[in-house]
């Protein structure tokens, strides 16, 4: 039965909010039973307040390839800023951390457990080549895996097993057959928790394998389940706190949370645990949401009212209710490969092995360390076991460097991330003050490093700001003439023309029209210069535009794009008097005037009566 059909079946059964039969049956006969869910969660017991590992130290387990060497797993002591151990390891999946061991899947398919203190292999569990491991998890004294025993990893696979081991010894506690499709498990306190059949979250006793309860996610798929110190969570498009009230989970529940996010953000609260490929570290780890929760009874909300967007090199804390940006961080040059929200901090490791912690409230950098100083290495992924790690900073929720950080993102030389730049620009436009204008003005000096849409949008923003304090800057820029000897080239005349127009700065017109007589002036600027002259009723622009029109009226180079000449005609039409009308009549009729110009003039001059005879040379202005 497809996941969609299952969803439809479940929905049909959910006419009432009471418990419904599990479809298809696990050993439990009832699903979505609040009493069973309450009892199961109570049976889970208390969780750890700090790191899971038995050392009690905040650790990072990093998959790294030293230059030219084989893949290694390194245990990095975050407090001591030192590598505790390192071993060759063909790691092919995320590292999961229990009290005594860390576990991972290797390239041969085995589940390998290494001693958390020494890194020595404690035990291994192979995988039948006919089976597919959907995923594995660890916490406390338990390691669990889910294996699809038929049907591979397809959504139609129905036969699966949930298997749990004693973390220290690797001895199997139970193997329980379960009807699929089944996702990767989570271990939370004394429970093994497995999403299955899209809508269900089944809670197993971690010791016996007994099915304790089934939670039904009624309105959206439960593609992940995540155990945190503050509770057990599941969801996909949003996040539910597992509780009696979410035994049949609905979005209207106070135990549901979903952040308002900027458009560029991929709303990935957790990877899709139905996809075995996502068991390994991947680009998903660099483009997701970092969040923690505050719970009060059965209600939940995002901790601090914010979620943090990790987008490759950038981190943005966003108010979950409004989408307003609180702080931003730009990791220079290289990607943050893996990250975690420790409660206090956003902790991450870069591709070259640099660790940093950002204060979760303010974004301030509070911690830095390096995996191997001076070593050439490439980090491919990391798991942090560092609950609560990070120096406290006093809890300010404002970022004093927000403008400069956003500007650094906007003008970053890395040509990826156009959407992120646009977001940074959008946020800057919401801010006032000279700092913002100064940073936006850097657009004038930026070359090809920044994508054209970003530059264009920045220009538009500057024009729209109508900041008269910028006029001297504009005037100075307009004085720049192209000069090969001096390596000088005026930039973005079209922008300046629009900017001075919005500022009603008529004094800039002589500087603008001077560019009409220069051979290398960007022709795309002629239209905006003409618009400026017309908008500001600048009659001093008449003569330069006359010169321009007459000089090029017969130039075939303008046949392809006659718009600059048309613009010149329009200036004369709208600002000129009889003298200019006579001149335009001449241009319309004269030999060799290019056809688009003569046609335009004939159309433009028709509505009014043509002069009975050409205006005298001595008349006019």
């Amino acid at each position: 039965m497809s996941r969609r059909l299952l969803l439809a079946t479940a929905a049909a059964l959910l006419g009432t909010a009471c418990a419904v039969p599990v479809v298809p049956a696990s050993s439990s006969t009832r699903g979505g039973d609040p009493a069973l869910v309450r009892a199961a969660l109570a049976r889970a017991g208390e969780g750890e307040k700090g790191p899971t590992n038995k050392l009690g130290r905040p650790m990072a387990f990093v998959v790294v390839r030293p230059a030219g060497g084989p893949l290694e797993l390194q245990a990095f002591d975050l407090e001591g800023k030192s590598v505790r151990w390192r071993h060759r390891a063909e790691v092919a999946g995320r590292v999961a951390v229990a009290g005594d061991v860390v576990v991972y899947a290797d390239r041969a398919g085995a589940l390998v457990a290494r001693d958390v203190d020494t890194g020595a292999v404690r035990w291994q569990r192979g995988l039948d080549s006919a089976f597919t491991r959907m995923g594995y998890a660890a916490s406390g004294a338990t390691v669990a895996e889910v294996v699809q025993t038929a049907g591979g990893s397809s959504a139609g696979a129905k036969e699966a097993a949930v298997i749990a081991y004693d973390a220290a010894s690797g001895s199997q506690r139970f193997s329980r057959d379960i009807t699929g499709p089944v996702a990767a498990p989570a271990v939370w306190r004394n429970l093994v928790v497995v999403p299955r059949q899209s809508q269900w979250v089944t809670l197993f006793d971690a010791q016996s394998g007994q099915v304790l309860a089934d939670i039904l996610s009624r309105e959206e798929a439960a593609s992940f389940v995540r155990g945190l110190p503050e509770g057990l969570f599941f969801g996909s498009q949003g996040v539910f706190l597992a509780s009696e009230r979410t035994a049949i989970a609905q979005r209207k529940s106070p135990a549901y949370m979903r952040a308002t996010l900027p458009a560029f953000v991929r709303p990935l609260y957790h990877h899709d645990m139905y996809r075995p490929a996502e068991v390994d570290y991947s680009a998903l780890d660099r483009n997701r949401l970092l969040w923690r929760a505050t719970t009060s009874g059965e209600e939940t909300s995002f901790a601090g009212g914010a979620v943090v967007v990790h987008n490759f090199r950038f981190f943005f804390a966003v108010d979950a209710a409004t989408g307003r940006l609180r702080w931003a961080y730009n990791q220079p040059r290289i990607d943050a490969i893996s990250s975690a929200h420790t409660g206090r901090s956003i902790l991450f490791v870069t591709s070259d092995g640099g660790f940093k912690a950002l204060d979760a409230a303010s974004g301030a950098v509070t911690y830095e360390a390096a995996l191997g100083i001076g070593d050439a290495l490439a980090v491919s992924g990391a798991t942090f076991d560092a609950e609560g790690f990070g120096p406290a900073t006093g809890g300010s929720q404002t970022d004093p460097n927000l403008v400069s950080t956003l500007a650094s993102i906007l003008w970053d030389p890395d040509r990826r991330f156009t959407d992120v730049r646009m977001f940074a620009l959008e946020e800057m436009t919401k801010m006032g003050g000279p700092d913002v204008a100064r940073q936006l003005l850097r657009a004038l000096d930026i070359g090809e490093a920044v994508p054209a849409p970003v530059l264009k949008k920045t220009m538009e923003v500057l024009v729209e700001r109508q900041d008269r304090a910028l006029l001297p800057v504009y005037m100075e820029a307009l004085r720049v003439r192209p000069d090969y000897a001096e390596d000088r080239q005026p930039k973005r005349l079209d922008f300046f023309a629009r900017a001075v127009t919005t500022l009603k700065a008529k004094e800039a017109i002589p500087l603008l029209v001077e560019h009409l007589r220069l051979p290398d002036t960007d022709l795309e600027a002629v239209g905006p210069i003409a618009d400026a002259a017309i908008a500001l009723q600048a009659k001093e622009a008449l003569e330069p535009f006359q010169d321009f029109l007459l000089q090029y009226r017969a130039d075939p180079a303008f046949v392809g794009d006659p718009s600059p000449l048309i613009a010149a005609c329009n200036v004369l039409l709208k600002l000129g008097g009889p003298k200019q009308r006579s001149l335009l009549l001449f241009v319309a009729e004269a030999p060799h005037t290019i056809e688009p110009v003569s046609s335009h003039l004939q159309r433009s001059l028709v509505p009014e009566d043509a002069p009975s005879k050409p205006a005298g040379a001595s008349q006019g202005e």
């Binding site: 051979p519 290398d520 003569e543 000089q551 009226r553």
Partner: protein, 277 residues
């Protein structure tokens, strides 16, 4: 810039009236035009009509005839044509005619055309302007040293060198530093002796041929101290290739027969040794 401000007035006079052409503002600083035989008024009228007519080939011929006539009044129809706009190839012919006629009244329209977007037109305008003796021309030529087209820069540079206008030297130096071959000779003509060591320091960053051309021209200047010439020759001695040898040979040809200056011996020795190789 102000030179072109009255152009519209010209246009209206020339393009819209059928009668006589109004006098353009006098520059008061005319170039030296050679005395010429006036064009018969009928022929002038005929040529003007052809120049402003539909047929381009006829107009080109008329422009050439007007330029070749050497007649003072022949400049007016050519300037008139440029003022009302023409096809680029016809404009080039009109500008070439004005170059020959050297009419000071064409200063404004020529200045306007030194900013034309079409490179052959611009180059022709710079040449025509350069033919005028008006002191205001120098400013335009110095500006055109920054032209994006090498051929236009070269015309401007050579004209400024011919005029011995040392104000151009700093910009010419910048062009040579950018390996602009067209600026090399003019820089050699105009560079201050004090700045020659800086020129030599460009070696390695600029083609030897460019530097050799500049230094060769410098050697030819009669006012240069011979000791400095010897230094320059020693610099040229370190440059392999034909350009340095050519510069030395050309220098030797400029020295009067009975002049036995030290630099002559140095240059000759170097040329001889290169010949022997």
């Amino acid at each position: 810039v102000c030179l072109v401000r009255h152009l519209a007035g010209w246009i209206l006079v020339w393009a819209l009236t059928v009668g006589d052409v109004a006098a353009a503002p006098s520059t008061g600083a005319a170039g030296k035009s050679k005395p010429s035989k006036p064009l018969p008024s009928a022929e002038l009228a005929d040529l003007r009509a052809k120049l402003l007519g539909e047929d381009v080939a006829t107009a080109v011929t008329a422009a050439q005839r007007l330029g070749d006539s050497g007649a003072r009044e022949a400049a007016e129809p050519l300037a008139e044509l440029l003022a009302i706009g023409a096809l680029p190839n016809l404009a080039v012919e009109a500008l070439a005619g004005l170059e020959k006629l050297r009419d000071p009244k064409s200063l404004q329209v020529l200045t306007l055309y030194t900013g034309n977007r079409n490179v052959p037109v611009r180059k022709a305008a710079v040449k025509a302007l350069a033919a005028l003796g008006d002191p205001r021309v120098a400013g335009v030529l110095i500006e055109r040293l920054g032209d994006s087209a090498a051929e236009v820069r070269t015309v401007a540079a050579e004209t400024l060198a011919d005029r011995k206008d040392s104000r151009a030297a700093p910009r010419l130096f910048k062009l040579v530093a950018k390996n602009d071959a067209g600026a090399a000779g003019p820089l050699g003509t105009l560079i201050k002796a004090d700045n020659v060591p800086q020129l030599a320091e460009l070696r390695g960053r600029v083609d030897d041929a460019v530097l050799a051309t500049a230094m060769g021209e410098f050697l030819k200047r009669p006012e240069v101290a011979d000791r400095l010439r010897v230094d320059v020759i020693n610099t040229l001695a370190r440059m392999p290739g034909a350009a340095a040898t050519t510069a030395l040979v050309e220098y030797l040809t400029t020295i009067p027969e009975k002049d036995n200056r030290a630099s002559r011996a140095e240059a000759q020795k170097l040329v001889d040794s290169r010949g022997a190789q």
